[in-house]
Every structure is written in structure tokens, then in C-alpha cells.
Amino acid sequence: MSSGAGDSRSLQIEARVFSRYLVGRNPPDELIDRYEKANRALFTEPVDQRDRALVGFIGRHPWSVSLLDAASGVIRPNGLLRGKILTMGAILETSPEFADEFLPREAHPATLVLRVFTLGVVAVACAVLGSLLYGIAIRSRP
């Protein structure tokens, strides 16, 4: 088994995929470098083949990230994929150009309830669809 960090090219792809997924934009090179460094610092332990397969699948099929993240939140919340997306989230949150995407936002009570409900429904739907895809992804080549 190899460590969860991955090679440089894969990490650059992951950084872009996770950034687009979380905040809808590509990260600047500086944040991609930081994501690489963070991976090399945090994911030093050998990881399960299925974890690597899941991350590799998303690298090849970026459209699947929302589904597989949602499914992992239920099936494997502390797995490699969740760790990597969280790491990119932390990096984006602590950069001035993306800070606003993470700072609290005020909303009218009715809007808030509606938005939270809608987001909850979307998250559950993604988790259901994602769990179907999850079985395929973890059996794919890493």
C-alpha cells in the first residue's frame, strides 16, 4: 500500500476538481501548491486500495465528486476522499480571494428555512445516487 498523498499531477487535478466543487472556481497556482504540500504533510499513512480508487475515479470523472462526497459522508466519513476535500476547503477558506465563500451570510428567516431545506434535499439525493456509484468507484483502478 502507498500513502494517500498521490503524485504531483494527480494532486493538481484534485485541487482543481475540489475547488470547483466547493466554490465553483479554479484555484490559483499558489493554492494548488499549498494543497500539494498539505497532502504530503497530512496523508503520510498507507491507505486502503478502495480509498485510492475512489479518489482516482474522481480525478478521471470530475462530475462524480458531488455524488461520491455525499455518499462518503454517510458510508466512510473519515476516509481519504473526505479528508482531501476538507483539506482543500481549509486552504480555500484561509485565502483572501475565497474567504467570502466561507464567511457567514445573513438571510431572511423564510429564505433561510427554504434554502436549508433545499440544500438538505439535494444532499440526501446526492447521497442516494452516490451510494450507487460508490460501489463502482471503489472497484475501479486507483
Binding site: 466543487y21 484561509t94 466561507f102 457567514p104
Partner: protein, 534 residues
Amino acid sequence: MTDVIVVGSGPGGVNAAAPLVEAGRSVLLIDYGNEDRRYAPLIPHQPFSELRRTDRQQHRYFLGDEFEGIPFGPVRVGAQLTPPRVHILADAAERTPVDSDDFAVSMSLARGGLGAGWSAGVFPFSDAELRDMNLTVEDMRPHYDAVAERIGVAGERDDLEALLPSSPSMMPALDIDSNAEVVLARYRRKREALNAAGFFLGRTRLAACTREHRGRGPHAYLDMAYWADMDRSIYRPQWTLDELRRAPNFTYLDRRFVDSFIEDGGRVRVHAAHADSGAKESHEAAVLVLAAGTLGTAWIVFRSLGCYDTPVPILCNPYAYVPTLNTGMLGREARDRRCSLAQLTALVRMPGGGGRLVQAQLFSYRSLLTFKLMKELPLAYRESLRILRLLIPTFAILGIHHEDRPAPGKSCCLRRGKGGCADRLEITYRQTIEETRATRTDERTVIRFFRRLGCLPLKTVRPGHGASLHYAGTFPITSRDEKLTCDVESRLRGTEAVYVADGSVFPWIPPKGLTFNLMANADRVGTLLVERLR
């Protein structure tokens, strides 16, 4: 000739040293003294929301150069120990190894000890809570007042006054944040019924300066209290240490690890090793005050007296977090100008519990960053982020503290290292079934009261035994003449001139937070020693 050696620069050490130094006694304070030199200089003196949008270096202190600020897994002990605070725990686990399966141990070799990350709550004990130490509030009042003046305390004389007596030097409370303001307004409308049911709510007394005091403050409301001490308005023991170091009769010796002491011919000799070179040295004085933190002091006492395999009690307030949704904040804008520390304190008298109290503090959430909450939700991160951005202004986090008393399953002892390995502390901590049941029941009661104030609980997080970091009870003050206890003067029995001035001496801990009380007891020890040395 040194009159007194104090070991440790935490809340106990500096407050024991202060009255001695003021009285002209020569004091040597020996300390390991780790400091954060890496992150503190990077943090700009700007409000949290402003620096988030402008500072390109923020990732260094928010996440850490080794990304140590990105936690995985469930909420653990010391969630508030951010990268600029991580030095507080550095080196301690290597210097004083501890074995425990069921107790999270956080020891400190930092300048200021665990007090360098203190959440600054000031909760003086009542007569009932001091009784087991053969002390009364009247005995302690001069020391509570002296410490309150030394550290600077801000608060209000409100419904908590009867349960938490204030000191004459108390400054006006810090400005309340929007979240707490709503909860407090609801409480005031229902006060009569809530008080009759045993629930009292008020502003948290904080060791913080709302006006300039001893060269510190006033508080600047930057919402950076978990990251930096820029205006020094929130008390840290280092501020008292800085004052002491200006006195000619005070010597500070850092980079030393104290290993043991020996009494010899009316003097106490302290054996220490240099932190960097490992060179052994010894220092001598008429009196020794141990204030190395409960576990650090246990290590020194066990080794000095050769007490291997001899269990003593260990205590730590059980603790739980309850994130709640404050419905009163729906549709309201949260003020940006705020302080990250506890806003409100509730004291709840438990029904049928013989006057047993439980304490809860209410915090708002923002400056510990959103990504740390994202991992707590079992949802896709993108949706979690969008939900949290909407809900964070309405989050009120309750921190619930319970009392802790000695029990057969809670013990600490020193095991001799084998094959050239270092000695190891061994801690066992198991609550009785009755204690576990009582804490769960008490949490439900507290949550019920907050529900009446519009705070809907989302989940209860129990970070595990040891999480509150309020370690105590190893060498308790008691009237019983037993080995490994202290007399009412805080002198360690079996010694002539070794005093203990940290959490070790408290025979049980009320649900209130110990730090202010151990500082007052340390001040009492220092004051008693001024008399003794006269």
C-alpha cells in the same frame, strides 16, 4: 540566598510568587517556558472578518505551517488549541510520559502553562464548595480580591451574583454579542419562572480588561481570542510573569525541567535538567512551592518521595458541548464587533440533588473557521458549507460542566521505567454508573432550560474524560493526617517546607471551572509564606 523556589509559571506559580515578591522575599521561578515565536508575530491587529479578506499570510496561523490546524475525525480535546496555541502542549508528552486508555491528558511546559490558553472564566467557589478544604469564602475573599485585581476581571452584578460573588475591582462587562443578547432578553422575560425552577443566567465573568489595567487592554473586540493575545486584554499568566521579572528580588530561570526535590538540613534542594543541553543542576531555598500543573506536580512529588505504584485520586470536570440553533437570531444580523470567549453563564440547581449545581456557558461560533464544522455534518461538503454559512450566525454553543468527585475508578500513579526507559504516569479514569447517569440527566435538564430560551439542541458532543483540562485532586487539602495529602496551608504532608499551589490540592471540583480558584489558593499560599518567612 533564595527564600522560595516556585516551579512552574502557570496560573498557580505566578500567583503564589506575586505576594512573596511584593513582600520583598527573594523568589526563584523555575520553568520550562515554551513560547510561540513562529505564529504570533504574523497575526495582524485587525478584526477577524477584515483580516480574512486581506491577509495573504492567514493560512500560516490558521492552518499552521505543517497544517496541524486541519483536524480530522471527531471533536477532540483542546479544539480551541489553534496552531498559535499548540506550543502550550509541546514537549510535555515526551518529558513526562503518561499511559491512559480512558483519559485525555494535556500537560503543558509552556510559559503560562495551560493558562496560556485559558478560556478566562472566573467562577469563585462558595462556602459549600470550599468546605472540604476547611476553608470559607471569608478565608478566601482577600485572595479572590487580590487575584481579581491582579488579573483584571470584567463582568456584571446580575443574577449570578448570589452564586458567584464579585470583587470590588470588577470592571464593566465586555460588550455582549448579538446571539447572547437575544438569549439574555428572553431569559429576562421569563426570569421569575426560571429562577423558581433553579435556573440563573448572567454575563460570564471573564479575566479580561474592558479598560486599561496594568498596561493591558482595553479589549479591542477583534474576535481573535483563540489565535492571538495582541492587546493583552485577556489574562494570561505570562502578563504577571512579566511584571514579576521587573522586580529585583525575582529571578526567572527558563529552559529547565524540574525532576525532583529533596529536603536537607532545613533547606529544600530542587534537581533540574537544562532543556537543551540536558545538564543537571540543583537550586536551594528555604521553601519550595510546586505549581507545575496537577500532573506535572504529581510527577515531581512521586519521584521525590519514591512513591512508585502508589495511587492517588485524579479528577477532571466531565464536559459536553451542545451546538444549538438560536431561533431568536433568525432574520437578525450578527454584529461583527465581538469577543470569541463565553458570553453567558448559566448555573442550574438540579432538582432533588441536594443543591447540586451544573454550569453551562454559551458561546457563539465564527472565528474557529467554518471548515471545522463541515466535517461534523454527515452531508456532502458543498451542501454542508452552504448550510453552515446560513446557520452559523444562529449557532449558540453550550459548554456544560459537571462536578467531579473522587471515586475508586479514578486514580493516578507513577510506574518505574523499565530497561532504561523513563518513569511513566498511569491514569485510570472510570466514572461510576451513577455518575454517568447523573451527567446525562443533568445535561438533559440544562438543555431543557435553554430550549425554553429558544436554543434548539442539534447534538451533544462528549469529547471524553479529561477534555475540560481541569485536572485536580491528586494531593488534596484535608484535615486527615494521611500521606500524599496537603494540610490546610497547602503544605505537602511528610515534608517540612514543600507547598502545592495548583489544582492538585482541590479534594473535589464543583462544575465551575477551577482556574480562578487555584490562583486564589496560590495567592493564599504565597501570603502564608510571607508570614512564615518573617
